[in-house]
Amino acid sequence: MTSALLNERLGRRWRKPHFIKNPALRWGLILGAIVYVALALGSLEVNWQRVSEGLVRGWRFVAAFASPDFTKRGGDIYEGLLESAIVTVASTVVGILISVPIGLGAARNIAPLPVYLVCRGIVALSRALNEIIVAILMVAIFGFGPLAGFITLSFATIGFLSKLLAEDIEDMDRVQAEAIRATGSSWLQWINYGVQPQVMPRLIGLSMYRLDINFRESAVLGLVGAGGIGATLNTAFDRYEFDTAAAILLIIIATVMLLEYLSGIIRAKVQ
């Protein structure tokens, strides 16, 4: 058998198919990415001397994690943490209370078109604005303190919960709701017995998740003067008290882990 025939039988060598099939698009994207990265890195101004000086301090910070100081500013940490927790709970509760009617309004299958558009508008606005920017405006309007943080987080909660709740209502089983309607129920009874039982597990799960997010966010709102543990953390960094800062960060991580674990249990239970 000649070698040409053998090659024919073996066929071409297998090559891995490409992720993007169109070669022009693929090479265009690769080239574009390379040019962009080069441009971006070119415009990056780095003061290497300052960085190398800072690395010593960075090492001190890493070392501080080995010996966090919970006691020296213990009172401040406790106050800040309590305020963060209070803002988290209050804003989550109020956020849920407001987002339920807005969520109902933003579901196309139960709300008339004008209500739907208004509610979707509110949701879009709330989602587009960054929490920190809202917090800055709220601090400017309502003054320093936890009230500004509370309003910010409530507002942010509305965008998150209403959107997901509305999507869940839109995906619900129509048959159950129609059955309730057929018994001659009023609108409220219809929502209460036909819609609510279908979306309740998910609503509880999302609320727990949002509680978790709100705590994380409340930890940074203090940076712009909206109360909570963020203010304490900022002060610690400003004074280069890395051991206190490490302690605060460890507390935040531990709390978030705990909340995530708890919300996981609750979500597993209701779903």
Binding site: I132, I133, F142, L147, F150
Partner: protein
């Protein structure tokens, strides 16, 4: 089925008496906690400022309108920086997240007892600390500038990307991996030909999704000195130049909407 029997009249009820009592007690505790939180917030608030809020808000609005459009010239450079922070930060995060994800996924981790918990700890701790706090930390270590923001975004995104990636890795089709293994492929070849092609779509989706979030977050990093458009926002706020603040907020809003649109388009094209 719980039925209330009063004077021979039978009425259907959703729950029996004990269930109702437990629920009622639960609600009582919940409301009490909320009221206590509200009281604490109220104590920490200067209500005179709050009652004055509508006037202040109207005043701020009147002073910030019309926005100072000519200020846009100085905003292009920080906007470019913001884009770079988000994009390069996401790239760095992905580079670090991929190994973490492989170490965290149950089916690819070298050791479920020793390595997996460490990978999970990395995921949780980077995820629970907000990028603004990372930025604060990095600014105090390596000095203010774009680099601090870039690293802050990268560190913060590791957890998010690695979590979504390792969930994708755990959900892969094992028969394909087995087929590759059966050809006598090495561990790395199995990864490259059996696992990577399966998670590529998830990887691209996560990258774009996180890029969208990072662009939002990088707009405010400047508030703590980590570069980008937030720096201009901070300096405009400090001198109470409200027309400039209004323009910056509009620019941020447009950037967020555009990034969301791009991310939705790209994800739509992939999935």
């Amino acid at each position: 089925m719980p039925i209330l029997d009063s004077a021979g009249q039978k009425t259907w009820q959703l729950r029996n008496r004990n269930e109702q009592l437990v629920r009622w007690a639960g609600w009582l505790v919940g409301v009490a906690i909320f009221m206590w939180c509200w009281q604490r917030i109220s104590e920490a608030t200067t209500w005179a400022f709050v009652w004055d809020a509508p006037r202040i808000a109207a005043d701020m609005a009147s002073r910030s309108w019309p926005p100072r459009w000519s200020y846009m010239e100085t905003l292009w450079a920080p906007l470019w920086d913001t884009l770079n922070i988000a994009t390069i930060g996401t790239m760095l995060a992905l580079v670090m997240a991929v190994p973490v994800a492989f170490l965290a996924a149950r089916n690819t981790t070298p050791s479920a007892v020793f390595v997996r918990p460490i990978a999970l700890l990395i995921i949780v701790s980077t995820r629970s600390i907000n990028s603004l706090i990372w930025a604060l930390l990095l600014v105090s270590i390596i000095g203010p500038g774009v680099l601090a923001g870039l690293i802050a975004i990268a560190l913060r995104s590791i957890g998010f990307c690695a979590k979504l990636l390792y969930e994708a890795i755990e959900e892969i089709d094992t028969t394909q991996v087995e087929a590759i293994t059966a050809t006598g492929a090495s561990r790395w070849q199995v990864m490259a030909y059996g696992i990577m092609p399966q998670i590529m779509p998830a990887f691209a989706g996560v990258a774009v999704f996180r890029w969208d979030i990072n662009l939002r977050e990088s707009t405010v990093l400047g508030l703590v000195g980590a570069g980008g458009i937030g720096l201009q926002l901070q300096s405009s706020l400090n001198v109470l130049a409200w027309p400039q603040v209004a323009l910056i907020l509009i620019v941020i809003l447009v950037a967020v909407v555009v990034s969301e649109w791009v991310s939705a388009k790209v994800r739509g094209a992939i999935i």
